[in-house]
Symmetry: C2
Subunit: 270 residues, 2 copies
Amino acid sequence: MNALERFSFNHATAKFWDQREAVEACARTGSGIGLWREPVQEMGLDASAKLVKDAGVEVTSLCRGGFFTDPAAPAIDDNKRAVDEAAALGAPTLVLVSGGVPAGGTIDAARGAVADALEQLAPYALERGVTLAIEPLHPMFASDRCVVATLNEALDLAAPFAPEAVGVVVDTYHIWWDPEVWNGIARAGREGRIASFQFADWVTPLPAGVLTGRGQLGDGCVDFKRYLAEVDATGFDGPIEVELFNDALWARPGAEVFAETRDAFARVLS
Amino acid sequence: MNALERFSFNHATAKFWDQREAVEACARTGSGIGLWREPVQEMGLDASAKLVKDAGVEVTSLCRGGFFTDPAAPAIDDNKRAVDEAAALGAPTLVLVSGGVPAGGTIDAARGAVADALEQLAPYALERGVTLAIEPLHPMFASDRCVVATLNEALDLAAPFAPEAVGVVVDTYHIWWDPEVWNGIARAGREGRIASFQFADWVTPLPAGVLTGRGQLGDGCVDFKRYLAEVDATGFDGPIEVELFNDALWARPGAEVFAETRDAFARVLS
């Protein structure tokens, strides 16, 4: 199978590009798309669902739910709305970023809050045919965005639930440093938990604004062929989303970023 | 035991403070000191050894060896010199920062280079009564400074050698995010590998220059009492070094930083 047939463009890679244009570019190239809640709301949920359906574009995920760790705002209702939106868009997966360590709290307590939230959301998601995908983020985000820092931790959090209800995101940018990453990928596959597979590169030196410093594929030290081989070896044959938070890319025209990203995807896998 | 009796001031916390003044401040307060190779060389090895001996100050570690992963410069000879310096200074421990991913290389290959270097250095260190302490650094440094990213990985690397030859550094700043950290500390204690115990805090938001953004104790989200309890529970009763790479601290007078740091240490453990 040609790797490009599995290419999905996460809209955040060209964050300020009009959603309609992004979907049309995906339609023209047979690509999937990862959508974000904010642009979907801006266009309207029904209009967005009609757009992707009419264009025949596969929605590979909806970003983003989560942020469960603030005791003042456990966000369950908003996450239920996000599940509904994913279902309406035909997205099989809602990506969850768990939330950070609240002021005065501990990381262990915050992790407990994530487990509690999943317990409330998993049956709701299962009923609507949406898989909640726990995304481990790089540990440099553990305090402010996501206390889930490794694939194994995400899998432990998913373990109490059916794989159709709760899976994990395998995103090279966040996990490439982990000495347990190959074991984690094998385990994720064995347990049927790979709900989303994402590519971004890790560049050195780390840009000053770490949130928006993800590298274009091929610009950093991630061995994408190896990741694809390890994930494929588990039997996973789903789409591969490219999601790059990158200030320099965001400053450029979306169509140009789309073409460059698709080319880079093909190149790092060739 | 009063926690302050275990306080050791790592010279890097007041990087530009004269080494003699730092040693004298430690002598006056019954503190230990963690020394660095560059200021030691500047004063001269013999003069530095005499300084700490005459002052009756315990040298708790020498920083820094390592950087094993550049195939063009495996650094074995320089690390042997660092072992000799540690022995001359009476430092029981040489702290090792392993090195990053060389250009065009993979992290797995770089990890293999670290294992190879340890094999060459361990007998040399053992003969001279110096323990090599593998320091896992925060994963945000994995590409440019240190491919060893977790306590468990450091312990796996140390496993082939006697605990007197190769141990690990438990530094809160680098490992606080790890879901396996409590298991890792228990294992490190069980295996007799805790060669250095260091404190620094993790502040949010992460400062732009991540290398020099370690927080003063109490300014971040690290639960130092819990770390002390977990490490003590393994039977470890050695010194606790405070090592803060922090631009704002470095800009201030060393004596002031020393006093503030010692106070913060007592406060977070009270």
